[in-house]
Symmetry: C2
Subunit: 196 residues, 2 copies
């Protein structure tokens, strides 16, 4: 066994824990909450099938790599769904620390590459990061639509909170926005989202 | 809303069910059985990190696409772990039917592309299919190693059954084989695999 391969397998075992990190979303059959590993699979598959809706050309392998890796920081930091700026900043600090620890398990070249991709996703500036972030916000919308927005309802979510979370889709993937807007408008109409 | 986008979203909602298909494997923390969606995420991430061990050049985006999509037939066919040839043939028939139904939810161009990739993986002949199949067999080995092979132990698995399942790794990714062989040999030594 060489050290390089040992390090790769240590990383690949460590990230198995992402399967135990629970998100707020529930599956479409409402049987249980979604975990972050299966969410990441769904995201990568969405990116594949919906790449034609990216604004301008994107390197889809880069987008998918970002989506497969971006949530692994939750192994240390948890998946905290927060609307306050102060809490968001604290969560972000935890995620930055987690990215350093987890990617450093890998050999130096892979660690640097994947850490840089994680930061690029986190920054949200490149075409790939913008599209990856659209996909990350879009997947829960599919589940909300399938479950009569039970999760929004349960948490007393407001219309303006969701517009702050999802509004960037209008700019970054305008051809997907009408579908997202329809789900939001319908949730407001049925009272699943609180009008504020 | 256009029909094309509606069809894409119908597919992307339908495959959410893969999160409810349970495999034989248990997670590394032994808290529960693994599902096929989170397994597919782990496979795609393994393929990314281990691509240097493929024999010859492979199109890694194609490998990852195969791995993201190859298990969705289990939504209809289930994940049946079988060692008898007769059962394997029956299971394969179910999967072929499932692939037809599920990929046909997509627009025709995507349906044809993904169905062909599924068949290519299933055939196992191209360099990409061979590497994808190595990865599909390798991920459970990581979990077996982490859990003292509890699943092999529980099901009375034999050494020769596992060699038939994993032996192709020796040819298709020889630099990964010593690690796999070490896990198998250790499981035989501890009695987790029955010597036959």
């Amino acid at each position: 066994m060489d050290q390089r391969q040992d390090d790769q397998f240590r990383f690949l075992l460590a990230i198995d824990k992402l399967k135990t990190v629970l998100r707020r979303s529930v599956l479409s059959d409402q049987s249980r909450r979604e975990n972050s590993a299966e969410h990441s699979w769904h995201l990568a598959t969405l990116a594949l099938c919906l790449k034609e809706y990216a604004e301008g050309p994107v390197d889809i392998l880069k987008v998918i790599t970002m989506l497969l890796l971006h949530d692994i920081v939750e192994i240390d930091a948890g998946d905290m769904f927060v609307h306050s700026t102060e809490q968001q900043e604290k969560q972000h600090e935890k995620e930055v620390m987690a990215a350093r620890r987890i990617f450093s398990l890998l050999p130096a070249d892979q660690s640097a590459t994947y850490h840089a991709l994680w930061e690029e996703f986190d920054g949200g500036d490149s075409a790939e990061a913008k599209f990856a972030r659209v996909i990350d916000r879009l997947e829960p919308v599919i589940l909300h639509e399938a479950t009569d927005a039970i999760v929004w309802r349960k948490h007393g979510t407001t219309h303006s909170q969701i517009l702050r979370r999802l509004g960037s889709i209008e700019n970054d993937a305008p051809r997907l926005w009408p579908r997202v807007k329809r789900v939001i408008d319908s949730a407001v109409a049925t009272g699943a989202l609180i009008e504020d």
